[in-house]
């Protein structure tokens, strides 16, 4: 079955007689951006868990009454294009039964969510009894229950093992929290204090959004505001079409490849056939591999988000990002594939993988059509979470590794950024201070430096990844979970550039032989004194390596980013 999720419109509609003028539309757009920024700022300052207030894994957005995204704060790219599905699912679930004072909540990937740790709050904004907007806040919670801590369960074979499923529910009614539901949720998660603190921050954020929206409807008049929304979407569509129409017409194929599903199946592949015709673009993912038994499957919202990320990365950075941007794009998927799994499949890893492979498939496909825009592959995500007890305080801890970031892909603009993280976060995830980590956790960081020779070669070289050597200084054994990909397939090269080096994570337990860690493994025993030796992937290179200048090569060697002797040029010539 091929599901067509979005049909493209040809061109922006001509403005009607009473439509607001372009100046007013511009004013409305700026105010909407102001509102989502304020919602984001409030979230950043009031949320409780580190993944939100430090790593900023949340987003704020405003959609129109029908769930079309009109403004979004620029925090995590992977949320772009995924938030409207939450509102649409809420509308499908509640229909007319949506009232002032309601706040809805969901996380279920088969009902408008991306993966279970991302809880999304949707607040309908009414003026004179008419639904005008939704204020939306999506945030990644540090735990959502399920079989293992921290949500990433490499052993899960069904979504029920991944945590608490929340289809669209009414969390607030007449402005009051439904305490029974909140009680039910809090007993299902491992850190109720963080959970409730972060939930309160989300509610505060959407309420602030509502207040600001009402103020500005009051300022400009409901007709002006409502009438401007379609124009804002049309304008983003026109901007996008203007760029796509500069790309060569044709049918292009690309793919992104995952190492394995953690169940013995290698090279799981996402295949994209992208057709460019004028300013229209069709992304056909139907030839992608079938769904897998582990948590790499991608729900519809996440798949759409992967395509949206690929598109926005290829456009100019200042192009407005809303649902108008996506109008020229038609996405085709087939039920039962990894990009449209049946509604019981586990999905938690998908916001990283296979979201990144969807980006890779679309960008590699389009590279011949827009060579001067296509960037090489960015590093893949490979996380370690370690759980244990700190001998100094006797308190339990859970540590999520954000250090040793992988490198960014090179681009026609120049060399890739070093250790700037993954394609789906694009240099937006911050790792914490080593000094603070040593104070807070029983770890000793022997080394945290760049990994030489890891960036893919090319006219422009990929950014290098990080090297980490860390000793676990507990008295009792710990447990580690691995979740991610990219130990076999490095980030792809582009336009003749070479791939970056893949990840290599090695565990040295005292008295045992070094052991290369698998990318998907749950419940690894970690004895005290274990040394983790981590080499993160470098980004892919862009363009023919023979064209890198001798000055650039000697600078690479001077700075020790490259330590091999023979320059590539001689080999190739």
């Amino acid at each position: 079955m091929a599901a067509s999720k979005k049909t493209a419109q040809k061109a922006p509609k001509k403005a009607g007689k009473n439509a607001p003028d372009p100046i007013t539309v511009s004013v409305v757009q700026h105010r909407l951006v102001g509102v989502v920024d304020e919602m984001g700022e409030a979230m950043l300052r009031t949320s409780f868990s580190q993944i939100l207030n430090s790593s900023r894994d949340f987003s704020t957005a405003i959609t129109d009454a029908k769930g079309q995204l009109v403004a979004q704060a620029e925090y995590i790219p992977v949320h772009v294009g995924a938030m409207p599905s939450s509102v649409i699912s809420t509308l499908e679930a509640f229909g007319d039964d949506i009232h002032p004072g309601d706040i809805f909540m969901l996380n279920d990937p088969y009902f408008g969510g991306s993966h279970l740790p991302d809880l999304t709050a949707c607040l309908p904004v009414f003026e004179d009894g008419k639904l005008l907007f939704w204020a939306v806040n999506r945030a990644h919670h540090s735990d959502i229950g399920g079989a293992t801590y921290g949500a990433y369960n490499a052993s899960a074979t069904e979504i029920w093992q991944e945590g608490l499923r929340v289809p669209p529910i009414r969390l607030y009614q007449n402005g009051e929290a439904r305490e029974d539901i909140i009680r039910m949720m809090r007993v299902n998660v491992r850190h109720p204090r963080d959970f409730l603190g972060d939930l309160a921050a989300q509610i505060g954020s959407v309420r602030l959004g509502e207040r600001r929206l009402l103020e500005f409807i009051d300022d400009l008049g409901v007709e002006t505001v409502a009438g401007s929304l379609d124009r804002i979407l049309d304008a983003a569509e026109a901007e996008t079409r203007a760029i796509i129409s500069g790309w060569k017409d044709g049918v292009y194929k690309g793919k992104g490849v995952l190492d394995d599903d953690g169940r013995g199946n290698d090279d799981i592949t996402i295949r994209a056939t992208v057709t460019i015709k004028g300013s229209d673009m069709t992304v056909d993912l139907t030839e992608s591999d079938g769904q897998v038994t582990s948590f790499l499957n991608s729900s519809w919202a996440n798949t759409r988000s992967g395509v949206a990320m690929a598109l926005t990365y290829l456009l100019d950075p200042e192009v407005t990002k809303n649902d108008g941007t996506m109008r020229p794009v038609k996405i085709l998927v087939k039920q039962g594939t990894i990009v449209m799994p049946d509604d019981w499949a586990p999905v938690t890893m998908s916001t990283s993988h296979c979201a990144q492979e969807i980006i890779e498939a679309v960008v590699t496909a389009l590279a011949p059509a827009c060579r001067d825009r296509a960037m090489a592959g960015w590093g893949k995500r490979l996380r370690i979470a370690i759980k244990g007890q700190d001998p100094r305080t006797k308190k339990d801890f859970i540590w999520h590794m954000f250090h040793a970031r992988p490198g960014a892909g090179a681009s026609p603009g120049g060399d890739g950024w070093h250790n700037s993280g993954e394609w789906h976060s694009a240099g937006g995830l911050k790792f914490g201070s080593v000094e603070v980590a040593e104070v807070r956790f029983p770890f000793f960081f022997k080394k945290h430096e760049f990994r030489p020779n890891s960036g893919g070669d090319g006219r422009y070289v990929g950014g290098v990844g990080g090297d980490l050597e860390m000793v676990v200084e507990t008295e009792m054994p710990c447990v580690a979970n691995m979740a991610g990909d990219g130990a076999r397939h490095g980030p792809c090269g582009m336009a003749g550039g070479e791939a970056g080096k893949p990840h290599r994570y090695i565990m040295h337990a005292p008295g045992k032989r070094p052991h290369v860690l698998a990318t998907k493994h749950e419940g690894i025993p970690v004895p005290p004194g274990t040394l983790f030796e981590i080499h993160a992937a470098g980004g892919g290179g862009w363009g023919d390596p023979a064209k890198r200048t001798e000055e650039e090569r000697s600078k690479d060697r001077l700075d020790g980013f490259v330590t091999t002797r023979a320059p590539k040029r001689n080999k190739r010539a």
């Binding site: 372009p22 700026h30 009031t46 207030n53 960037m375 954000f402 790792f431 050597e469």
Partner: protein, 680 residues
């Protein structure tokens, strides 16, 4: 006797003098970017002329010069600082370039990588390692250190930054490194992280120390030249330098912590705003400084300027306590354009000073905010800069007509649109800046200064529901004017990580005692006047990442229940900022901080203007405010105290024009400033 302040900006060097009666005189001279001290001396010459004496006579009668400068900022922006080498812990040489994993411009996937201030081959790992609890894991290896120093010498670096892990716990390895540098590399500028910022979080500490080494030699040379020129001109008194934290410090101290001057210029604006708050009894202000290319927004809350510790200039993190100033890319020269979707965008690109707006007649061909102001009649082309630089109205109309064509509207509507869009952007910027600091802007008074603010402030106030706007007569030189009323200030901070439950009270007391004693000793060398110490603690919940600064006013360090009192003070502050605190959670103390303040005698108040005869309107002109209407024009400099002007009107001086909209009412204060009540 006179007190003089000199503020160097990108285009002009502003000079303000106050005499013992409080009379204020000000003037401007052209800035001289190659050597700012030349412009400073030119400014002093111009000021002397203004006062009817020669420069030597003026300087002989001057007992204090306060100076704000942009030497450090420009060096960072233009990448013209020293060649810096970095000595750091082996195994951790890339902290600076890792930037905590963050890359600027999230959605710009083709952004070229930037070279860090210290390239990798000049970053040397030295064998040594301190642990988080202050114990030495690996002793400083002298052979490894000497090898690194030889490398720095071969590379001929001009400055060396030294930053080892956990050196905030114990600085002995850094001190030994300085000794080795003095021995093997004499004369090189050295910056130790344990002196610049002895605080946990290695990226912030390394970056700040590197910036210090990068601008230090330049600042030393510049201030040496300035001191020499002033001495040659006959000045014998002290020269105080405006610091990013809003206080002033002597030259020697400024050279030591040179990174503390990156906000030296804008800091004066906040000092001015603080003084305005006090004089007009408006303790809650939003200072809004709009220039040609950008606008600065900050906050005065209860008469105090807020400090932040997470500032970055030109993408370089500087974690010293600095005034909390937000810069928006919108100014008078901001360019208006139609984007690919057919909507109007203004800025962040600017026409700058050259070619500048089309109406300057220097070859500018794109519409700017200033061009729109001319088309709408807000600016009088003949009277601009006191008539010294007439504006080209036809050129302005031409570029706006072209912009209008793209939008399908006429030049007037396009010009009005440019103002609406830029005002909306700035209003959203102010909202965001205030929310970030946990305050509601509606309770605040808007203070407009900088050349371009006067035309926007009344509309901005309306957009954010502010009812009162102040525009000082010294609006165009507010920074320099503010510097006349600053205090000597020294900031000391040291990490001391401690849980409330196990608080080591004697150690904490000893730390505060040490910081306070050293601060007072240092200040005692700068002033004979009164000295005051302010203690605070930077605290957070264990899981949080942002510390908040909790003043310890009224908290007795010898109280038996000190931990409980600290906790309560933290909770009150947390609630104030973020609307909540957590009953069942103990905060963690991270940094101890002591601010030492040397109070300088305040300048006398300006003599109040007599009521006098109200200034007559100099005529009227047509302005477009939704429709064309007649607005009377008034000379700002000649308004009488108490004079009331009703909008629509324009109030003009050589350097600024203030626009009153229908319903707005401006009352002239005794200082002859505008105190504007905004129409509902």
């Amino acid at each position: 006797m006179y007190r003089i302040a000199v503020d160097v900006g990108g285009t002009f060097t502003d000079v303000v003098a106050v005499d013992e009666t409080g009379r204020v005189t000000f003037t401007k001279a052209a800035s001289t970017p190659q050597d700012q001290s030349i412009g400073v001396l030119d400014g002093l010459t111009a000021l002397a002329e203004e006062l009817g004496m020669d420069r030597a006579a003026l300087l002989a009668k001057t007992d204090r010069v306060v100076h704000g400068m942009t030497v450090a900022t420009n060096a960072l922006l233009e990448r013209k600082g020293a060649k810096v080498g970095l000595l750091t812990t082996e195994g951790h040489r890339d902290v600076l370039e890792m930037r905590e994993g963050l890359k600027p411009e999230r959605y710009n996937m083709r952004l070229p990588r930037e070279e860090p201030l210290v390239p990798r081959h000049l970053r040397f790992g030295v064998r040594e390692r301190m642990r988080a609890d202050g114990k030495v894991e690996t002793k400083l290896d002298m052979a490894s250190l000497e090898k690194a120093i030889q490398g720095l010498k071969r590379a001929k670096v001009g400055a060396v930054a030294v930053c080892y892990l956990h050196s905030y716990r114990d600085d002995k390895h850094e001190r030994a490194t300085r000794k080795a540098l003095e021995k093997h590399f004499p004369g090189v500028y050295v910056s130790l992280s344990s002196e610049v910022l002895p605080k946990i979080k290695e990226y912030e500490r390394i970056s700040t120390t590197v910036v210090n080494a990068y601008v230090g030699p330049l600042i030393a040379r510049y201030l040496g030249r300035l001191e020499g020129r002033l001495a040659d001109a006959g000045y014998k008194g002290p020269v105080l330098i405006m610091q990013s934290h809003g206080g002033v410090a002597p030259i020697e101290e400024t050279i030591r912590v040179a990174a503390g001057t990156v906000l030296s210029g804008p800091a004066g604006g906040l000092a001015g705003a603080r003084r305005v708050a006090e004089m007009l009894k408006a303790p809650n202000l939003v200072p809004f400084d709009m220039g040609g290319t950008s606008s600065d927004i900050s906050l005065i809350v209860n008469g105090k300027a807020l400090l932040a510790v997470d500032k970055a200039i030109a993408q370089e993190k500087i974690a010293l306590p600095s005034l909390d100033i937000t810069t928006l890319g919108a100014g008078g020269g901001s360019i208006a354009r139609v984007d690919g979707g057919g909507l109007l965008k203004v800025g962040p690109q600017s026409a700058g000073a050259d070619p500048g707006p089309a109406c300057y007649g220097n070859g500018g061909t794109v519409a700017t905010v200033t061009d729109a102001s001319v088309v709408l009649g807000y600016l009088d082309p003949e009277a601009f800069m006191g008539g010294k630089a007439a504006l080209d109205r036809e050129a302005a109309e031409g570029v706006l007509a072209r912009l209008g064509e793209e939008l399908g509207i006429d030049a007037i509507r396009a010009a009005e649109g440019v103002h609406r869009v830029v005002n909306t952007q700035m209003a959203e910027g102010i909202r965001l800046a205030t929310v970030r600091r946990g305050v509601d802007p509606r309770r605040f008074t808007l203070l407009g200064f900088g050349g371009a603010a006067g035309l926007q402030v009344t509309e901005l106030a309306r957009l954010i529901n502010i009812k009162r706007v102040i525009v000082p007569r010294v609006a165009s030189v507010l920074s320099a004017w503010g510097m006349l009323a600053t205090e000597l200030r020294f900031e000391a901070i040291r990490s001391h990580i401690d849980e409330m439950a196990t608080l080591d009270v004697p150690a904490l007391r000893a730390l505060y005692d040490d910081l306070e004693t050293k601060g007072r000793e240092r200040m005692g060398g700068w002033t004979d006047g009164p000295i005051e110490s302010k203690l605070s603690a930077e605290m957070r919940y264990g899981e949080q990442v942002y510390e908040i600064d909790v003043p310890l006013d009224g908290i007795d360090l010898f109280a038996p229940d000190l931990a409980k009192r600290l906790k309560r003070a933290f909770e009150a502050r947390h609630e104030e900022l973020y609307t909540y605190y957590l009953d069942d959670q103990d905060p963690v103390l991270i940094n101890a901080r002591v601010t030492t303040i040397g109070t300088l005698p305040a300048p006398p108040d300006e003599p109040k203007a007599s009521k006098g005869k109200p200034a007559q309107s100099t005529g009227s002109r047509k302005v477009y405010l939704g429709e064309w209407m007649e607005a009377k024009a008034y000379p700002f400099g000649e308004l009488a105290s108490g004079q009331v002007i009703k909008g629509p009107a324009v109030i003009e001086s050589a350097t600024t024009t203030v626009l009153l909209r229908p319903g707005d009412t401006a009352t002239t204060t005794p200082q002859r400033w505008l105190d504007i009540a905004i129409a509902d």
